[in-house]
Structures are given as C-alpha cells and as structure tokens.
C-alpha cells in the first residue's frame, strides 16, 4: 500500500513537472564562460532556480570561449541567429546596441539603484545591460617592500602623487634587487591596454575621445595632458622602470611572486594567487597624476538581443539573477567584485575586513567607465597600438596625433555613431 502511494505520488509529481515544463516558453542564452567550470556551475544554479521559480519561461544556456565570444555574436547577428539573452563586455555594449544587436532591458531599475556604476550598462539614456560583478585594478606590492624603501602607504583619501609614485619606482630601482621596479603587464595585449592604462591618461587629464560630444578625439588624445601622459609613459620604459612590450608572459604571470618586480599593476582576479604567496600583500590605489586617481570599470553584463521575441521573459531572467545571493556566489566562485555592498558582505573576500575588500572601495572611489560610445571598439585598438609604439620609442606627439586622426576618421566614417553636437 505504502509502495503504491509512493509510486502514485512520484508519477503525479513527474506529470505535474512535465506539464509545467511543456508549458514554459524556451529562452536561449549565450554566455562567454566556456572552460570555466566554477563560473558555469554558478550560472547553471541561477538558471535552474529561475526555471523552477515560475511556469512561463525555460532558459537554456550555450557557453562560448571568452576569447572568441564577440566574433561569434557578431557573426550570429549577421546571420540572424542571435539567442534571446546574451552577455556583453561592458565597453562593447554601446557598439552592439548601436549596431542593433541589443534591445533595452525591461527591468525594474529601482533594483539596481545600489549597484556600483560600472556594472550598469546605459547608452543613449537607456539601460541595455547589467553586470553581476565588476573588476578593478590596483598597484600590488608588499608592506615589507614599502617599509624597506621607506615609503608612505598611500590611501584612498591620499593616494600617491606622480612625484611620490616615481620616487617609489626610483627607490626600488636603486636597490638593485629587482629586474624592474614596476610590472605593468605589457605582455597582456588586447583589452588590457585600454582597460588598465587609459585611466593613467585620464588621470593626467586626457582621454581616448572628447566625452562631451564623442565626436572627436582632438584635444583629448593629443592635447597637453595627453602629451604629458605620453612622455611619462615612454619614460617608464626608456628609464628601465618597467618591462616593455617584449615582456615574457611567464614573467607577467609569476614575476611579482618570484621577486622580479617591486610593484605590479594587476587586477582583482589575480589577487587570490598573490595573497596565497605573500601574507603582507597590499593593494594600493592608483596614483593621482593631477586630474584625480582613476581605474577602469565595467566587466561582463547581461542583455537582451534584438532578435528576441520574448524580451519580457529574457528581462525577467536577468532581473531574477540580480539577487544578492547570486552576486555573492559569483564572487566566491571566481573572485570578482560584487556590485552591491550587501552582496559584498556575503562574500569571503569582499566583506568588511576581507582580504580583497579594498577592491570594492577602490571601484567605488576611483572607477571610471571607458568611453560610452559605439566607437570605443575602434578607439581601444588605436589606443593599444599607440601605447605599444610609444613604449617602443616612437615620437609621442606624432603617435598621438596619428591615433587622434585615425579615431576621428572612424567616427566620421560612421556618421558620428549616433552622437550629435
């Protein structure tokens, strides 16, 4: 009798579940995290929870390798094969929105009021994407190095000035202990250059493009502030203060831990390994080169593709994923910065007193999103090449002028990318 009751209950539950599943409308989702099992597990948990939480939608994810994800999405957009939900790198979002790959999100924006600014993907006055985390860069060193060199420990309130920063590098160089005083990560190419180095330019008072109109780089990338930045940048390599573009990738990976460098300009994603190596690791704020200390912001975010016939369902999933517990899960799994203070308190690394809590404060205090314009994708590549050329000894003024012309020509070719005077 008991057995029969159990079987009947199981049959009933299966039938109800099957009926519910059959009634749900399929939503396809693409994600950039293939090859990262921890990230995939968190995302799958959110999807499973969402699918079980309601009877209207059934999300299924297809993962792509990050390195080729953007190319896959662009190709799919051309072929008319986009899914309902896609994730997009923050600085690329305006380009995809402008190109018609994305449609505005239909979520309750009061739910993201307390988010850090970086994960909010606004363009043209509309919210197109939202991130479940942010990323930040800091000047990594050891307290013992600061003490040995007799240096003041900079704080968010009082970061190093340019003079103090250069003094620190010269002091480290004078010891003869290090291959180079500073590891900038020149071995990493691609988006690392604009993400990690354009904040230096912005701290000098320059930028990749004039943000008041987004119609020209004139004055922003080749004005006095940008020239001062370029000279300073070139000096780092000319004076053997940092390894240049020929830096060995292996040295970038482990050089700081191996004692080759006194300081390393690196991201919160690398912090865990460094903390495991040195118990006196400190993460210092970016120096202030005159226009305030800056670091980059915005990482991967979720959006709804323009091809989706169910933007309400896709938005419902994204809104569901914004719960603090999921933001904390992602942070605990892959070490990225939760976008809300309440989620940060739920994490091992970013809660008050946590080993990486400083990154949350850094993001809040110093983060500046990369230029919010469809033209950014070209500006980033032009900037990367210009920085590499200057590091290799090219004339600063000529290089920045040429980069400015190239960016301006691209903006003109694309009729201002939707921006107007």
């Amino acid at each position: 009798m008991k057995m029969t009751a159990t079987l009947t209950a199981a049959l009933l539950a299966t039938t109800v579940w099957a009926t519910m599943a059959a009634a749900q409308t399929d939503l396809s989702m693409w994600y950039h995290g293939a090859g990262n099992p921890k990230e995939a597990a968190v995302l799958q948990t959110i999807i499973d929870d969402f699918n079980a939480s309601q009877s209207d939608w059934l999300v299924a994810v297809e993962s792509f390798p990050q390195e080729s994800y953007n190319d896959s999405v662009v190709a799919a957009a051309l072929a008319g094969n986009l899914p309902d939900i896609i994730d997009v790198d923050g600085p690329v979002m305006p380009n995809w929105a402008w190109s018609g790959y994305l449609q505005p999100l239909q979520i309750d924006e009061t739910k993201i009021e307390n988010f850090l600014p970086g994960p909010k993907g606004y363009w043209d006055g509309k919210l197109y994407s939202i991130g479940l985390w942010d990323a930040a860069v800091a000047l990594v060193t050891r307290q013992s190095i600061l003490d040995d060199l007799g240096l003041r420990t900079p704080t968010l309130e009082q970061p190093w000035t340019q003079e103090e920063f250069m003094g620190a590098l010269e002091a480290a160089k004078a010891t003869g202990t290090y291959d180079y005083p500073l590891d900038l990560g020149m071995a990493w190419t691609g988006e690392w250059y604009p993400y990690a180095f354009s904040p230096f330019l912005q701290s000098f008072g320059g930028d990749l493009v004039d943000r008041s109109t987004y119609l020209t780089a004139e004055g922003a990338l080749n004005g006095d502030a940008a020239m001062a930045f370029g000279e300073w940048w070139q000096g780092l390599f000319a004076n053997d203060l940092a390894p240049g573009t020929s830096q060995d990738p292996a040295a970038r990976e482990t050089g700081f831990q191996d004692g080759k460098y006194a300081f390393s300009w690196n991201g919160n994603w690398a912090a865990k390994n460094i903390l495991e190596t040195f118990d006196d690791t400190v993460f210092l704020p970016a120096p202030d080169f005159g226009a305030g200390p800056k670091i980059g912001a915005a990482s991967w975010q979720f959006g709804v593709s323009s091809a989706s016939k169910h933007p309400d369902g896709a938005s419902a999933f994204i809104e569901f994923a914004l719960q603090d517990k999921y933001l904390a899960d992602f942070s605990n799994a892959i070490g990225l910065i939760p976008p809300t203070a309440s989620a940060a308190q739920m994490t091992e690394n970013y809660k008050d007193g946590g080993p990486m809590a400083v990154f949350y404060d850094l993001t809040k205090a110093q983060a500046l999103v990369r230029p919010v314009t469809p033209g950014y994708v070209v500006e980033a590549k032009v900037f990367e090449k210009a920085l590499a050329d200057i590091a290799n000894g090219a004339d600063v003024a000529d290089t920045l002028d040429a980069a400015t012309d190239e960016i301006n020509a691209d903006i003109e070719r694309n009729s201002g990318y939707g921006h107007s005077e």
């Binding site: 293939a34 990262n36 990050q66 390195e67 896959s72 190709a75 051309l78 094969n81 292996a250």
Partner: protein, 292 residues
C-alpha cells in the same frame, strides 16, 4: 691519396650528420617542449621556460594536466568532430577534385582552359574576404533531412564540410600530376574501347598515389586547423572542432599546463596521419622536384 679521400668522405659525412641533427633538433624542440610542459604544473612550466629544463622531464612530473584538460572541456568530442569533418572533407575532396582535374587534363570541351584559369585564380583569394558572404549564404541554404525541408546550415557538420570540398589548390595539384602521365596510356585505353570513367578509375587513379597523398596531407592540415569558419558558423558546443576548443583554456588565469596537454592530445591525429602518408608524400615532393 686514396686514404685522404676516404678521410674527406668520412669528415663530410660527419659534418652532414651534425648539420642534419641540428636541423632535426630545431624542428623537434617545439614538440618536445609541448610534451614535456604538458607533464608539469603551470608554475613550474613557466619557471622552466628560462632554461633547458623546459625540454626535460624533470621536477614535478605527472598527468594531472591531462585530467584537468578533460574536465575543463569536452576534449574527446572536439577531437571526434575535427577528425570526422576533416576525414569526410578529405575523402570527398580527393574524389571530386581529381575528377575535375581529370576533366581539365584529358577531356576536350569548350571553355576548359578559361575555367581552369579561373579555378587556379581562386588561389589568390584569401578566405577572410569571402567568409562573411559565405556565412550569409549558408545561413539561408535549404536542406532536406529527417525533419523535412529546413533552411539554414548553421550548427551542423555539413556547414563545416561542404564549402571546403572543392578548392583550387587541390585541383591544381591533380592537374599538374595528370599532365605528366604518359598520354600513350590514355590513348591506348581509348583505342581498346575504355570509357572515360574506366580510364579514370583503372588507369589514372592507380598511378596517382603520390599526388593523392600530397593533396590529402595538405587538405588534412587545412581542415584540422580550421578556426575562423567554425567560429562563425557553429554556435553549439556539440559541433565545435579542436581549434575553437583551444580557446576554452585561455582564462583570466591561463592554465598553460592544460593548454600543453590539450595541444599534445590534438597533435596526435596529425602526426599519425602524416606518418601513414609520409612515404607517398616524400615520393610526390621528390618526383615534383625532378620534373620541376
């Protein structure tokens, strides 16, 4: 005098073998580095790159990277996909391109030389220039399968195979080889009443071993190394080939040991295929050189 000559001969032989050994070492070192690195933890791997230890099985050696590679990505699926796509494409390509070359070489038809010129001219067109138009085309093409008529070839094996079956280089290789076959054989067969199909099947192809091997190896390498095309036409993991799969290993904290293990695994089919075809390939190259 004879003694001096023998000495010179011996010396020349030693020098020759030293030079050949050096060249062999230069070619084999990258493979050796890959295999040795696949056995080491990432941190040791990076440290060893600064010395000759990079080429030696020293330190903390094991197969953990292989296990980790299989848990990070469906390696076996990627290898299966690549071998399947490559194998089918190579077989179909050898058959169809040799048929085309046979026609260009032995049959007389109007516009033959012009068409051959156009086929050979496609050699100078980089694939990247036609990738997007081809993508737009295959995304709309019809196909009749078990589910009836469907439009769009994306996310299938056929989209990775069919556009690559015929190519100018393979046709060109066959044409060049067929031109050097004795015409008397063909004429004698015709006099005996053989059909063109019989001549192709019973006379020409049995003599085409070297060029078949060359074309097969070249096609195999092109297909096995496919990256851009599958990247844009395949959005489902179940159809991804090995080169797109390689991207799974480039994360924020790149697992170099796993990358080397993955590369070692996916190199095995290439080496095996080359070793099988090696004799015929060298024979083909050598004979081309003599005739050149």
């Amino acid at each position: 005098m004879a003694t001096i000559s023998a000495d010179n001969h011996g010396l020349r032989l030693v020098v020759r073998y030293v030079v050949l050994t050096l060249i062999a070492v230069i070619f084999i070192f990258p493979l050796l580095f890959m295999v040795m690195s696949s056995l080491k933890p990432s941190d040791q791997l990076l440290r060893d790159t600064a010395s000759l230890r990079a080429f030696l099985p020293v330190g903390d050696i094991g197969f953990a990277n292989y296990a980790d590679a299989f848990s990070r990505a469906p390696v076996a699926l990627f290898v299966f996909n690549s071998v399947l796509v490559t194998g089918v494409t190579v077989l179909l390509s050898l058959f169809l391109c040799s048929l085309a070359a046979f026609s260009f070489t032995f049959l007389n038809w109007k516009g033959r030389d012009l068409l051959l010129g156009i086929v050979i001219a496609t050699l100078i067109v980089p694939f990247e220039t036609i990738a997007i138009p081809l993508l737009l085309l295959v995304s709309k093409l019809p196909w009749i399968g078990l589910d009836g008529l469907q439009f769009g070839w994306l996310n299938t094996y056929r989209v990775q195979i069919i556009p690559w079956i015929a190519d100018g280089l393979t046709v060109f290789l066959f044409v060049q080889y067929f031109k050097d076959l004795p015409r008397e054989l063909i004429e004698a067969a015709r006099v005996e009443g053989a059909s063109w199909w019989q001549i192709y099947r019973r006379i020409v192809m049995p003599l085409a071993g070297p060029v078949l091997a060359t074309a097969a190896i070249l096609k195999f390498l092109v297909m096995y190394n496919q990256y851009l095309w599958p990247l844009i036409v395949v959005q489902q993991e179940s159809y991804r080939p090995v080169m797109v799969g390689l991207q799974y290993f480039f994360q924020l904290d790149t697992a170099w040991g796993e990358i080397m293990a993955y590369l070692t695994i996916i190199t095995v089919p290439v080496l095996a295929f080359y070793l099988i075809m090696q004799r015929a390939f060298i024979s083909s190259i050598a004979s081309t050189g003599v005739k050149g």
